[in-house]
Amino acid sequence: MQSQPVLLTAGPRHELPVTWQLSGHARRLVSVAVAGLLIAVITRRPEFVGLAAPALLLLLPGRGRQPDHLGIEIATPAGQVTEGSQAAVGVRISGQGAGQVRLRLHPGNWISLAGESPGEDGWFNFRFVPGRWGARQLGTLEVVIFDRWRLAACRVLTSLPPVICYPEPARLGSLVVLSKLPARLGEHTSRRPGEGVEFAGVREFVPGDRQRRINWPATTRRGTLQLNTFTAERAQTTVILMDISVDVGAAGRSSADLAVRAAAGTAAAYLAARDRVGLISYGKHLRWIAPAAGRRQAERISYLIAAGAGPPYPLEMLGSLAGDILPPGALVIVFSPLLTLRLIESLRALRERGFAAVVVDVLTAQPGTGHGRYRATADLARRIWRMEQEAIRFSLREIGIPVVHWDGQSALDEPLAPFTRRQVVSR
C-alpha cells in the first residue's frame, strides 16, 4: 500500500517512571555462568569455569546508571479519520539516554496495522486502517528500552488515546425533494414562480415587470407583450432519522453500520445542496441536532453520528418532537432495520402529523436456519418472522410511508431513484 503523508497533532509530553530489569539476554548469561561454575565445583572440572568467564565478562559493562523516567509524546491524527482509510499515530520517546528504543503497537480489534516508519524529529509513526466507525481506543503502546549493551531493559505499557472514526459516507448524487418547499432561498426548483433560472412559462406583461424577460417570439405571435416566468428556488429542510437501537448482521455490514453510513452520506449530500439538515439518532437514547445549514452543521452531524455525543432524551419523545427539531414541512428520511416496534409507532405518529417520510430499510441479516431436530421449528419461526416484517412494511406503505431496501453496497441513489426522479408530494 502506498503510504500517504498524514498530518498529526502532537499531544503533551508525559513523564512515566520506569523500572530497569535484567534483559532476557543478561538472564541467560547469568544462568550459563552460574551453571558453569556449579558444574565446575561439583565435577572438579576447570573447563566449565571457562564457560562462566565469557558470560560474566559480557555482563560487566551493564552497570551504568539508567534514567528513571521516560518522556512519551503521542500525536493523533489531525483531520478526520474515516473507516477504511489510512491514518497514523505518532510516538516520540525522550529521556532514554543512550538506550535503544523498541516500540510495538498492540492495536485494538477495530483497526489493522498498515505499517510503521520513523518520522522526523525522533517521531515514529504507526499507520493503521480503522475497520469500523466509532470512538474507540487505538490500542496499547509497548515501549521497551535496552541499555547500550542490551543487558538491562525496561518495559512500559501505555494506552493510546481514543480516536473518533467517522463512517464512510454512502454515495448519494440525486436528492429526494418535496413538492412544497418552505419560503427559504435555496437550490431546489419549486413549483412557485420566482427568481430562479428554471423556465416555468409565459404570461402577459404587466407594468413593473422586467423588460429583459420579455419573450419576443411569443409577443410577435400573440400581439401583446409576453413575459418569461421562472420558478423559485427554495431550500428544503431534511431531517435524517438514524436507527441504531438494534445492531444485527455481520460486523462491518450490520444494520447500524449501514444506518450510520447512509445517514452520513445523506447529510453530506443535502448540506452540499445548501439545505437545512437535522439528525435524530435513535439508539439507547434519543439524541438530535436541530436542522441548520453550513459546514459547521456538517461537523456537528458527523460528530453525533460517530461519537454519539449529545444530551440523551427518552425514546418516547420521537413522536412528539418540537417544531425546531422537526420543522413543519420537513422531509424525514429514516434509515432503520425496522425491528423496533416503538420506532414504527413513532413513524406512524409523524405521518399523522403530516410529515413526508421515506424509510430506507437497512436490514441485511436474517435469522439462521435450525439444525437437527429443531430445524423445522426454526424454519417455522423464520417464516413467521418474515411475515411479520412484510406486515410492518406493508402497514407503513399503506399510510403513505414508502419503504425501500438498501444493501449497503450500491449507491443510495438506486433505492431512492423512484423518489429522486419526481418530487415527493407532501401535505
Binding site: 550459563v32 551453571a35 573447563e47 566449565f48 571457562g50 568467564a53 565469557p54 565478562l57 555482563l59
Partner: protein, 189 residues
Amino acid sequence: MSRPAARTRTIAGVALLVAAEVTWAALPLGGSAAFPSLVLACAVLAAMMSVARLADTAAADGEQSRPGGYDWPWSSAWLWLTALPGRLPWAEVLAVAVLVLEALHPARPWHTVVLIFLLFWFLLAYHLAESDAGRVVLGPQLPLLLAGGGLAVLCAAAAALPGTGAGAGWLAVLSGVAAVVAAGLALPV
C-alpha cells in the same frame, strides 16, 4: 532482503545451532541410563520450545483461547496452565541441560570448549533474533567476547594438562577467582 525474510533466516540459524549443540553435547550416546536420557529429553524439548518461542507461536506467547464463552471457575487456572509453556525460560533450560549432558560424559576439555563456543554462538544468535536487532549491536561486545573465549581456552588447556599437577590446579583456581570477581561486578545490574 526484507525484514521477515531476514528474521526467518535468523530463526533457522538458531534452530541449526540448537540442533548442533544438543547433538554435540549428547554424543557419544552410550548406555541406557535413565538420568542422561531424561536430561537429553529435557534438552530436546527445551530446544523445540525455545525455537518455537522465537517463531512467535501461540504457545510461546501464551495466547490461548478460553475454554468457552462463559468464565467457568476453573477457566483462569486452565488459562494459567496452558500459558505456562510459553512463560518458561526455555533457552536457559536448554543451556543448563546441554551443560549437564556434557558433564555426564568423562572429562574431554577440547570437546567442552567447542560446546562452549557453540553455546555462546547460540546465545548471541538467540538474542539477535529475540530483539530483532542486527549484528551491529554485538560490535562493542567483541573485545569482551574475544577475552572470554581466551579465558575459556585457557581453562580447557589447564584441564587438559596431564595429571593433577600444581599448574593445572592454579590455573583452575585463577579462572574461578576471575569468574567470581566478574560475577560480583556484574550482578548488581
